[in-house]
Symmetry: C2
Subunit: 204 residues, 2 copies
C-alpha cells in the first residue's frame, strides 16, 4: 500500500528545503542498506523511513514509489560501474577489452564497491521489478554507451556478449565462489578474459 | 528447527518400503516446486511435507536435512545440464566449444528445463548454503569432468571461464532479459559464443 503512494504534492516547507541534501542522502543510505540486507521484495518504504529516522511520507516526497527509491539507490551503488564507458573511450580501440576488463574487476575486487553491486544483482535475479530497473539502467547508461564507442554493426549485441563474459566470471568468482576461479590470480584471469571482451567488441 | 532434525533412525515399516519410490518422487516434486516458488530460505521441510501430503518425519527419513532435500532436488533439476560432459566428449576436440554451447542453450531455450535451472540459480545467488550445494555439484559433476576431457594445464580454470561465458549469457538473456540479447536469434549468439568457449577450453 504505502509503496504505491503517489509522490507528495506541493512545495516542501522551508525547513525541509534546507535539510534536503542531508536527509535525502540519509534516506538513500538507509535504502541501500535495507535493499542489501533484505532484497527488493522484503524491503518496504516504511522500513527505509524507519532506518533513516524519518516519516514514510518524506521518503515518498523525495523519491516516490519503492521502485523509484530502488532505482535511486541502485544508481548510487552502481555509480562506479557506470563510469565504465569512460574507461572504454580512454585509449585506443585495440586496448578496449583489457581496459574494460580491468575496470570491472577493479570494482568487484574492492569489498566497498562489491557489496552494493552484489545486493543489486541479488535483487535483480529475484524480482521482476528490480530486474526491470537494473535492465533499464545497465542498458541505457552502460551497454548502449559502450556500443556507441565501438560503432560496429551489432554493437549493442557485442557489448552485451562482452558484458556476459564479465558478468559470468563475477558470478562464479564472487557470488557462487567456484574453485579454482574464486582463488585464481586476478592477472591470470584478466589475461584470458580481456581478449574475449576485445573479440566480442571489435572482431568482425 | 525442523530443518536441522537428524535423519530418522531405524528401518522403515513395511508399508513405507513398498510405497517408497512413489512417495520419494512425490516429495522431490514438491521440494522442487517449493524451492522454485519460495527460494531456499523461505522453504521449510514442513512446507515440502505438506505439499507432498506426507509427514515431515518422512521427508527427513528419505532425505535428511533441508540442505539434503535441496541437494536431491537440484540433482534432479540439474540432470539435463549434468549430461553436458557427454556432449563434450561426443566428437573431436576442435568442435567442443560449439557442442557445449549448443547443449547448454538447448537446456535454457526449453521452458521445461529452464524453470528448475532458474530456481537453482536464484537460490544459489541468495543463500550461502544453496550456493555451497550448487558449487559442489557443478564443480564435481560438471566442470571437473569437462576439464578431464580437455586435459590441458589449467583445465579446471579453463572450464570455469568457458562456463562463465555461458552463465553470463544465460543471466542476461533469460534472467535479466536485456535487449537485444534477450530476443536475438539463437544461431547468431551461438556463432559468437561457441568460438569463445572453444578458445577458453583449448587455445594455448
Amino acid at each position: 500500500m504505502t509503496d504505491a503512494a503517489p509522490r507528495r504534492r506541493g512545495r516542501p516547507s522551508r525547513t525541509q528545503t534546507e535539510a534536503a541534501p542531508a536527509t535525502r542522502d540519509r534516506i538513500l543510505d538507509a535504502a541501500r542498506e535495507e535493499f542489501s540486507e533484505r532484497g527488493y521484495e522484503k524491503t518496504s518504504v516504511r522500513g527505509i523511513a524507519k532506518a533513516a529516522g524519518v516519516d514514510s511520507a518524506l521518503v515518498h516526497h523525495y523519491f516516490g514509489t519503492k521502485e523509484q527509491v530502488f532505482e535511486a539507490a541502485i544508481e548510487v551503488a552502481f555509480a562506479p560501474a557506470l563510469a565504465a564507458p569512460v574507461a572504454v573511450e580512454d585509449g585506443p580501440l585495440d586496448g578496449v577489452g583489457e581496459r574494460l576488463t580491468r575496470f570491472i574487476f577493479g570494482i568487484w575486487e574492492n569489498p566497498a564497491t562489491r557489496a552494493p553491486l552484489l545486493a543489486i544483482v541479488r535483487s535483480a535475479v529475484n524480482n521482476e521489478t528490480a530486474a526491470a530497473v537494473f535492465r533499464r539502467l545497465i542498458a541505457a547508461q552502460l551497454l548502449r554507451r559502450i556500443a556507441q564507442q565501438v560503432d560496429l554493426p551489432d554493437a549493442e549485441l557485442r557489448a552485451e556478449l562482452a558484458a556476459a563474459q564479465l558478468v559470468g566470471v563475477a558470478m562464479l568468482r564472487y557470488v557462487i565462489r567456484v574453485e579454482p576461479l574464486a582463488s585464481a590470480d586476478l592477472e591470470a584471469i584478466i589475461a584470458r578474459v580481456a581478449p574475449v571482451v576485445q573479440g566480442h567488441l571489435t572482431l568482425p
